[in-house]
């Protein structure tokens, strides 16, 4: 039996970027993009589910984000997570990797004991691949990045295969451990129809508060009690709940500043014709090497 925590993120769906989505300064207008479950985080959840399938245990999904990030938590429940936490507060807005990992670390400590922390290698909106490693550092536990497969788990150790340049290496680590997961590590399972129907009504505290607003017949405490009773409550943790240093959170706690965003337009110049001969192909390879595209 192993207890896993999976860190997930809701990201803009960059697979369908159209003209309206790009602002003139080259940044992305997030409000125009649909929000989706970061794919590598889905793979991370799949690995956690496979551990639970093999050895038993429980899985808690955690996300830090705005209220609408509850969507990905519901999707975690649809895939099979046992519970989900929303970490949200206006004070967390604008966080870089340092501030994000600080909040996640405090949230994980609050949620309880664990054997595994899983995270996707990186989120497609920032592409930093730093939040997982920094969270492990702050939790003071070992980490394995670029995880391709979990080969075995025995008692308090796990054997993990990670990708390295030109190949892979197999590491043995003690538990608890934080793993960041590559997209090819597993195919995330589809949502379970029964769980979709059972958990479609799961609500975070903020969503329940919205229901209460403008409806004098509803009381938040009663509502939370009712939803909790039906296993439909998504627990919500704010800065106050976590009793953390707000100076280290959000934009205040983020030393990273975006200096400039350059909009690069890739355009083809003249096409090159490559003869289908050994000589033609080797001259193409030479020019790719010279342009540092290969090698």
């Amino acid at each position: 039996m192993y207890t896993s925590i999976v860190l997930v993120k809701q990201v803009p769906d960059t697979s369908n970027i159209s003209g309206q989505v790009m602002k003139e300064d080259g940044t992305v207008n997030r409000s125009k993009l649909p929000a989706v479950f970061n794919f590598e985080d889905r793979v991370a959840l799949e690995l956690a589910l496979q551990i639970r399938d093999r050895f038993g245990g429980t899985i808690t999904a955690v996300t830090m984000g705005p209220p609408r990030a509850s969507d990905v938590l519901r999707e975690c429940l649809y895939m099979g997570a046992d519970s989900a936490y929303l970490i949200t507060d206006r004070k967390f807005a604008g966080a870089d990797t340092l501030a994000t990992s600080y909040v996640l670390c405090e949230a994980i400590k609050r949620i309880g004991i664990y054997d595994f922390v899983f995270a996707g290698r990186q989120a497609i909106d920032g592409d930093t691949a730093q939040v997982g490693p920094q969270t492990a550092e702050k939790l003071d536990i070992p980490q394995v990045t670029y995880t391709e497969a979990i080969l075995d788990v025995r008692d308090r150790t796990a054997r993990v295969r990670r990708k390295i340049e030109g190949g892979y290496e197999i590491l043995e680590t003690t538990l608890p451990v934080l793993l960041t997961v590559l997209k090819d590590a597993a195919i995330p399972r589809p949502f379970s129809a029964k769980r979709v129907m059972a958990f479609k009504g799961a609500k975070s505290l903020l969503e329940l508060e919205k229901m209460v607003e403008g409806n004098s017949l509803l009381y938040i405490d009663k509502l939370v009690h009712e939803y909790r009773g039906r296993s439909l409550f998504i627990p919500t943790l704010t800065a106050d709940d976590l009793e953390i240093d707000v100076g280290r959170c959000g934009i205040r706690g983020s030393p990273t500043k975006v200096h400039k965003v350059e909009s690069v337009v890739l355009a083809g110049s003249s096409p090159a014709k490559i003869e289908n001969t050994t000589a033609g192909i080797s001259s193409m390879i030479d020019s790719l090497l010279a342009d540092k595209i290969l090698g």
Binding site: D13, V36, P190, F191, K194, V196, K200, S231
Partner: protein
């Protein structure tokens, strides 16, 4: 992310348009016990919301998991070694994920692990999955044998077989066909006998059994020695254990992912399903409604896929300085395909709802009888709806399977030479399409099955009601056409019946069924055009086209095109 439910507004149109209120209220027992399962609906809107969300899961699975594997499933195919059948790798993964998604017992009761969905919603899922990989439908669709066990078997049989079908641990097969009993199932020989303690065993050979390697087999067998017709046949359920040998699997033109097996039963222990002697005349006929609809869904899914490929290619391919989709001849073919596709979908979901209503009324009448309550009203409704289902299910299977062949044929045509090559999807789709108008009853047999209802004009009152209705704007002209088609139909019918010639009637049936089918679909489309302005285009081309075909059919009958059947021997000379 791609999604074959969300990207198809026409399925959504029918989802929103279908009225399953009574069907769902019955199956949910008035929503009285919805608290027993966390995923049971509390009312009709909640149920529809559940169905929509689950169809989104199906659409995701179809587009992102199943479709990308379809080419490799086609290339690898199912295989056999040492009597053991293996699915293609892609098929195995598909089935595992369908199980993880809880989609392998969609209509079966919750207490056995199913979702307890209406048949219509299950058919939507079947269409969506068939679009991704037609061959997967053959295995996915066999969850339906669970429904036969549920309807006619005992509670113990349900407990024994259904939970593992729902979980995906077991798949099913229907073993009906034999070397000498294909279309003519009355000729089934496979022998069922009892030992001195009354236990049943099966002995004999079945052929062309889709997924015959399954763990659960429904077998039609001769339980009454000395009989020769359908009344000596009973239905059995057995495990696909070591006494069932797969002798070979067929090397087919298409649907390579679906293993088609020859089975030898060597004294296989079996259990009787329902009552003796009712195997063919009651239980197989009952499962045929749903099996025909399953193949129709497969045909519709393939048609959708072929249309998408053709449209995409025609818009990308440039010749004579423009996209070929802008060439009127090509554009016209695409419109024909699209109109056929949408008309077929209307017919399909109308039939699906009809099957749902029939099953609901059967269950309701059964319940009222057992509670010793009056059931006359429900029973007369059941009779009406059964008549309609007897007509609509073969009509749907015939129409959709023939259209599927036409649409995939034209999809290759639009691709030109490239469409003939293995690299393009349309080639596989055309091969997969070819079986749909053959199995589960050939088109010719579907026409026979539908012709009874057509000759008795079972929808006569329905059409008269439609003729009294007033349509607005451009639809007035179309409703006039439909009145004319009906006049031509009745005239042709009188002519055929008046001839009192069975051979002539058999051959003329196709034209009569075509006339009747186009009337029914024409009125469906007229109704849709009243709700959605875009559908006016669909209704217009369909009805105008139907008018022309109707004149041709009527003319063929009146001029006795088939009068030369008597001289078949003289006409049909073989090479010497």
């Amino acid at each position: 992310m791609a999604n074959y439910f969300l990207d198809n507004p026409d399925i959504d149109f029918h989802f929103r348009g279908c009225d399953l209120r009574e069907v769902v209220a019955h199956s949910e027992d008035g929503y009285a016990r919805s608290r027993e399962y966390p995923f049971a609906p509390v009312d009709y809107d909640d149920a529809m919301d559940n169905y929509r969300k689950v169809l989104e899961v199906v659409g995701d699975l179809a587009a992102n998991y199943i479709a990308p594997r379809a080419a490799s499933v086609d290339t690898d195919g199912a295989s056999i070694a040492d009597g053991k059948v293996s699915y293609a790798g892609g098929t195995r993964e598909n089935l595992r994920e369908l199980g993880q998604a809880d989609l392998l017992g969609m209509v079966l009761p919750r207490r056995f692990g199913g979702l307890q969905f209406p048949f219509t919603i299950y058919m939507m899922a079947t269409e969506i999955i068939s679009r991704a990989d037609a061959s997967l439908m053959n295995i996915f669709g066999l969850q339906d044998i669970g429904e036969t066990i549920h309807k006619f078997g005992t509670e113990e049989q349900c407990e024994e077989f259904l939970p593992r079908i729902c979980s995906g641990e077991h798949t099913g097969a229907m073993a009906l066909t034999e070397p000498d009993a294909g279309s003519d199932l009355q000729a089934v020989k496979l022998h069922a006998y009892q030992d001195e303690r009354g236990k049943w065993f099966l002995r004999g050979v079945k052929r062309f059994i889709t997924n015959g390697n399954a763990e659960v087999l429904l077998v039609l067998a001769r339980s009454e020695p000395g009989t020769r017709d359908g009344r000596g046949l009973s239905l059995f359920v057995c495990n696909g254990d070591s006494t069932v040998r797969v002798r070979r699997i067929e090397n087919k033109l298409g649907i390579h992912g679906s293993p088609t097996c020859e089975l030898q039963f060597n004294d296989t222990p079996a259990q009787l399903v329902g009552a003796r002697r009712f195997g063919l005349i009651k239980y197989v006929l009952d499962l045929m409604y749903r099996a025909r609809m399953g193949v129709s869904a497969q045909a519709l899914g393939i048609s959708q896929a072929a249309y998408e490929e053709a449209l995409k290619y025609a818009r990308e391919r440039r010749q004579f300085g423009r996209a070929i989709s802008e060439i009127p001849v090509v554009s016209n073919m695409l419109i024909d395909m699209r109109v056929m596709l949408e008309a077929n979908r209307s017919l399909f979901y109308a039939s699906a709802v009809c099957v749902d209503e029939k099953e609901m009324l059967e269950s309701l009448v059964g319940r009222l009888k057992s509670e010793k309550k009056p059931f006359a009203d429900e029973n007369s409704r059941l009779k009406e709806v059964t008549k309609a289902a007897n007509l609509l299910t073969p009509l749907t299977k015939y129409t959709l399977a023939e259209s599927c062949n036409k649409i995939t044929y034209d999809a290759i045509q639009i691709h030109g030479g490239t469409g003939y090559m293995k690299e393009f999807r349309v080639e596989r789709l055309a091969r997969d399409a070819r079986i749909t108008n053959i199995y589960e009853g050939t088109s010719q047999l579907q026409v026979v099955a539908a012709s009874g209802g057509v000759i008795n004009d079972v929808l006569g009152e329905y059409f008269s009601g439609k003729e009294r209705k007033e349509y607005r704007g451009g639809l007035t002209k179309l409703s006039g056409h439909l009145k004319e088609i009906r006049r031509l139909f009745l005239e042709s019918l009188r002519y055929v019946v008046g001839k009192k010639d069975n051979a002539f009637q058999d051959v003329a049936s196709r034209d009569l069924v075509d006339l009747y089918g186009s009337l029914y679909v024409g009125y469906l489309l007229l109704g849709e055009a009243e709700r959605d302005a875009r559908k006016v285009f669909i209704a217009n081309r369909y009805v105008v086209n139907a008018m022309a075909s109707a004149r041709k059919s009527a003319e063929a009958i009146r001029s006795e095109t088939f009068g030369d059947l008597l001289h078949a021997d003289d006409i049909l000379v073989a090479a010497r």
